[in-house]
Amino acid sequence: MTAAGPVIPEFGKGSACVTGDHVFCWDWVRDHWDDTLQPSLVDHVELTLIAVAVGFAIAFALALLAHRVPGVGQPVGVAAALIYTIPSLAIFQILVPFFGLSTTTVEIPLVGYSLVMLYPNILAGLQAATPEVLEAARAMGLERRQVLLRVELPLAVPAIVGGLRLAVVSTVSIATIAAFLGEQGLGYPIFQALKQPTPFKTEIYAAGALVVALALACDLVLVAARRLLVPWARAGS
């Protein structure tokens, strides 16, 4: 007895929106938030946080060094400017032979780019204390370390936060390139969408909107943080 052909069930038609590739399909976003958009978003946030945290640590150390030791500032500043113009995709590929397709390969350039944004701003912030203020502090009997902690750092906060805003926004943007090296970050849904027989508009717009929204959200959080930390500082100072 030959077996009958298989039963082919209804798989659920995509909405007319999706099959017709209309401009934006909310139903697709709802259906695929869990399996496509959210994991990429989480990856993206992770990549950004690691990059900015490590970049901040290094930039802070370097800025502190430059602030204390005269003559270090200029060469580091030039190197920083040059790093920023290095093509991101090329740099990712060049690191692959060293570190393989790992998070390290992705993070090294991201750390580099955020470092470049943070360093000049942290340094400028540390230099914000005028000589008069420093003299007054020393006259009050504060040691070097206390001057740093209680005078220079608080005065540096606006500039540091400014640098963080730049670094975070840039890193969120550049992290989309991580998708070239693996299924990570919000660049990945865009890749997948481009590969379809007709490039899938909704996925591209949804992922793109998430990247921009993420950048904006981080920016707002940092502005709020500045207001909390230094309520006496006027915006733009």
Partner: protein, 307 residues
């Protein structure tokens, strides 16, 4: 002053190292996998939707029968997944019979019939220690497609007709350039001296055809855009360059043996249900209707009492 700092620092460092050591120890202990009943079937798939569907079908069917399954989707092209299979990173993946013969083993042509191709693939893989299970009814070959307008303009019906066209661009997935089932086969067997290969990394071959970036493109016979009332014309392949391409699961022989007859029976039962209509319907659901391959596979298996 200095001595006090050093003592404090040393105490702190000791405490931190102890804590780190404890945490690492706990983690290593927890990470040891639980003892499993039989061998773990590590299923891999290539990098396109039909493969995701096949992978999910076999994965879910085996899990339902109590097998221990691990799943590595989207590994890459044939060349890459063969490396994974060889190195033991995976021990099971669905492959096309003609690809085994013509790409993995570099023969110019498949066998003379579908059955002969399967038998040849089985023989060649057995020599390397891999078992080839029963083939699916459906097949999925490379096909060379042009837009309907292009076919009309140059009067193209079969691949050989492309000789009439002047210099032209032929697009396809990157590995196509050196494959007997693809660009290499087309140009050599049909004498297409006038073709330049354009590797398509980002956009799909259909998008490239639509945009006029290439005149002809290598695509697959089960793709949704080639269905009814297609915008594209598939050129005939009388020399059978693209071979016979039913799907057979390749499994490491030792793993198949250890997993027992129930394993082979389960896999073959799934394969038997995969007719041309079934796979085309599932491809359509995933590619056009944007359903999740996992859900589509589950629905199919349930409807056919395999889950």
């Amino acid at each position: 002053m200095i001595r006090k700092h050093t003592r404090r620092a040393a105490k702190a460092a000791f405490a931190v190292s102890l804590a780190v050591a404890i945490v690492l120890g706990l983690y290593a202990g927890a990470a040891r996998p639980a003892r499993s009943a039989g061998p773990t079937i590590v299923i891999g798939t290539k990098n396109f939707p039909e493969q995701f569907i096949l992978g999910q079908l076999y994965k879910q069917a085996l899990e339902a029968k109590g097998f221990d399954v691990s799943y590595k989707e989207n590994i890459g092209s044939t060349e890459l997944i063969q490396t994974s299979l060889g190195s033991g990173k995976i021990n099971f993946y669905p492959e096309y019979t003609g690809v085994i013969v013509q790409v993995v083993f570099h023969r110019t042509f498949s066998g003379k019939t579908a059955a002969a191709t399967t038998a040849l693939a089985r023989k060649l893989e057995a020599a390397k220690g891999f078992a080839v299970l029963k083939p699916t009814p459906f097949f999925d070959t490379d096909v060379l497609a042009v837009t309907n307008a292009t076919a009309k303009r140059f009067g193209l019906e079969s691949i050989g007709d492309l000789r009439k066209v002047g210099a032209f661009k032929l697009g396809g997935f990157p590995e196509c350039k050196t494959r007997n089932t693809c660009f290499l086969g087309y140009t050599k067997q049909y004498g297409l001296q006038n073709a330049t290969f354009v590797p398509l990394a980002g956009i799909s071959a259909y998008a490239a055809l639509d945009a006029g970036k290439v005149l002809a493109a290598d695509v697959f016979s089960t793709d949704p855009p080639l269905g009814k009332s297609s915008k594209y014309t598939v050129l005939a392949d009388p020399k059978h360059v693209t071979g016979f391409q039913n799907v057979v699961p390749i499994v490491k022989a030792s793993v198949a043996k250890a997993a027992g007859p129930a394993f082979t029976k389960t896999v073959n039962a799934v394969s038997a249900k995969l007719t041309q209509n079934a796979i085309v319907a599932m491809n359509r659901a995933v590619i056009v209707d944007k359903q999740d391959p996992e859900a589509v596979a589950k629905a199919f298996l349930k409807a056919n009492s395999l889950l």
